[in-house]
């Protein structure tokens, strides 16, 4: 056996991957090779160091947080599944290829007629009627569909045939009272999906202005605001969402979300806002549980902002003195 093969055996032994036969061969070699013995000792030192080094462990709290966030993400994923994805997947219920082909052909014809109708329909809006479920006093009018994201795929020079793709976008003008639940739900969806941060900011501001402090929050709106506060890419949107959430009575979801912000938010002023918001109910003994106290303790010990450490310490100590 070549010497570098013994080096490989050493590494395999270090990782407990050596079988008995090779173990014996290695042991025999080590008795006679000072270089390999030194290598073995060096690996042992490395192991000793790594074992002593702190490492991130998966605590129950971390796992719970991850699971909670996953549940929210899955709910959003479910609501985002487009009609077309579900339509395509529903074709799988047809077992035979022939049935799928026939159904696919019929469906394509129907879709083609529909597109033609929409494209060549006379101008003038009309009510969406039942298109937005749960509409009470709000009304929505559909405008003329527009072509968007036009992309030419192929056109041979001099040929009459052309191939392209495009999106059919139907703008909807919706009017109603901001207290209307249906209006708020549409806005909550926009808060999570609109790509323009300015639009998201306006949406959360509008929702925030309408939330009454004593009203039981709509679950979807609360979830959307929590998601925006925790995960929106724009700090202004996250701050507005935090302001809106502060108007709700504190329940477990909101408490967990606030503690998440306290621990994970990169913007220090938001973390300060959370401490300021929690201070009153904590000192009034309305919200004193181990999660909140641990959150404050962690902030006072390891936040990278000195002022936040001091604020968290002040609240924590004042609670402990009571």
């Amino acid at each position: 056996m070549k010497h570098n093969q013994f080096e490989d055996l050493l590494h395999l032994s270090f990782y407990h991957e050596l079988d008995a036969d090779n173990r014996a061969v290695l042991d025999d070699h080590l008795r006679n090779c000072a270089e390999c013995r030194a290598e073995s000792e060096s690996l042992a030192k490395l192991d000793s160091f790594l074992v002593r080094s702190p490492r991130i462990d998966v605590s129950d709290q971390l796992l719970d947080e991850a699971r909670r966030e996953l549940r929210i993400a899955l709910r959003l994923e479910q609501s985002r599944r487009s009609f077309w994805v579900e339509w395509l997947e529903s074709l799988r219920i047809f077992g035979s290829p022939g049935a799928r082909l026939a159904f696919g052909g019929i469906a394509t014809l129907v879709v083609g007629f529909l597109i033609g109708y929409l494209v060549f329909m006379p101008s003038g809006g009309n009510d969406l009627g039942m298109a937005v479920p749960g509409l009470s006093q709000a009304s929505a009018r559909r405008s003329e569909p527009r072509v968007a994201n036009f992309r030419l795929i192929h056109q041979a020079v001099g040929a009459e045939e052309v191939e392209f793709t495009f999106d059919m976008v139907t703008p909807v003008l919706m009017r109603g009272n901001l207290n209307d639940n249906a209006i708020q739900r549409v806005m909550a969806q926009a808060l999570l999906s609109d790509q323009n941060p300015g639009a998201r900011l306006m949406t959360v501001s509008a929702l925030s202005n309408q939330i009454e402090a004593s009203k039981t929050p709509d679950k979807e709106i609360k979830t959307a605001l929590i998601q925006a506060m925790k995960n929106d890419a724009n700090v202004g949107v996250r701050r507005e969402a935090l302001k809106a959430i502060q108007k709700f009575p504190i329940d477990k979801d909101i408490k967990d979300a606030l503690l998440f912000v306290l621990k994970s938010e990169s913007n220090p002023s938001m973390r300060i806002d959370v401490i300021n918001f929690l201070e009153k109910p904590v000192l009034a003994r309305q919200l004193v549980d181990s999660d909140v106290l641990n959150g404050l303790k962690q902030s006072m010990q390891s936040d990278n902002n000195n002022y936040i450490r001091i604020r968290a310490k002040n609240v924590y100590e004042e609670v402990n003195q009571q």
């Binding site: 490989d8 991957e17 790594l50 080094s53 971390l62 991850a66």
Partner: protein
């Protein structure tokens, strides 16, 4: 059939049952399927990226991919193999979303910070020293790991920290066992060289 094989088969059957139900839209079944493996996924992610926040991002991405791809899962391989392959792929392509100040949890070691006695002050100093040392060790290990290529880091994490067999790592990463060994030995040498002065 041995006891181990019996257990293996029954675990597979449980997975298959939950997969079928989840495919039918049963979110409870999907959740049960997730809970059977999610701690391992989170552990791999946390050890790989050395950050609990990034680990949660990876965790979420992995299970969203599983959710979206479950209808296409062929049942030719074990669900766990497929899941951990997704996990390693997501880890390898993950980019840290937000820069985090590296810190270890000090709350287990530090207790009450009050007290004016000399004993308390000394204890506090020793605790602070110990915590500073541990933070420093963690920083050096993190830097050593960052010196590895993504695949070396993944193999090292899965072998040293998660104690998977080389054969299992090869399956998870879609590599030959010889390639895994090559990555592992190179990673071990690099980590040792990085930490040379501290050993």
């Amino acid at each position: 059939m041995s006891l181990h094989q019996d257990e293996h088969t029954s675990e597979t059957m449980i997975d298959l049952d939950l997969i079928q139900k989840a495919r039918g839209g049963d979110m409870g079944a999907f959740e049960q399927l997730v809970f059977r493996y999610d701690k391992q996924v989170l552990s791999i992610a946390a050890r790989y990226v050395q950050s609990s926040e990034d680990a949660k991002d990876i965790y979420q991405e992995v299970f969203l991919r599983v959710y979206r791809s479950l209808p296409k899962f062929q049942l030719r391989s074990q669900f766990s193999t497929w899941l951990f392959r997704i996990t390693t792929n997501v880890c390898l392509t993950h980019r840290t979303r937000r820069k985090r100040h590296l810190h270890t949890s000090l709350s287990q070691d530090s207790e009450d910070e009050h007290g004016a006695s000399v004993t308390d002050a000394l204890t506090e100093m020793r605790t602070a020293d110990r915590d500073a040392e541990r933070t420093d060790m963690a920083l050096h290990v993190s830097q050593a790991m960052e010196s590895l290529s993504a695949k070396q880091k993944m193999v090292f994490t899965l072998k040293y920290y998660e104690d998977y067999k080389i054969r299992e790592i090869a399956e998870m990463m879609g590599l030959a066992e010889g390639t895994v060994k090559r990555y592992l030995f190179a990673a071990t040498k690099k980590v040792r060289t990085s930490l040379q002065d501290l050993l």
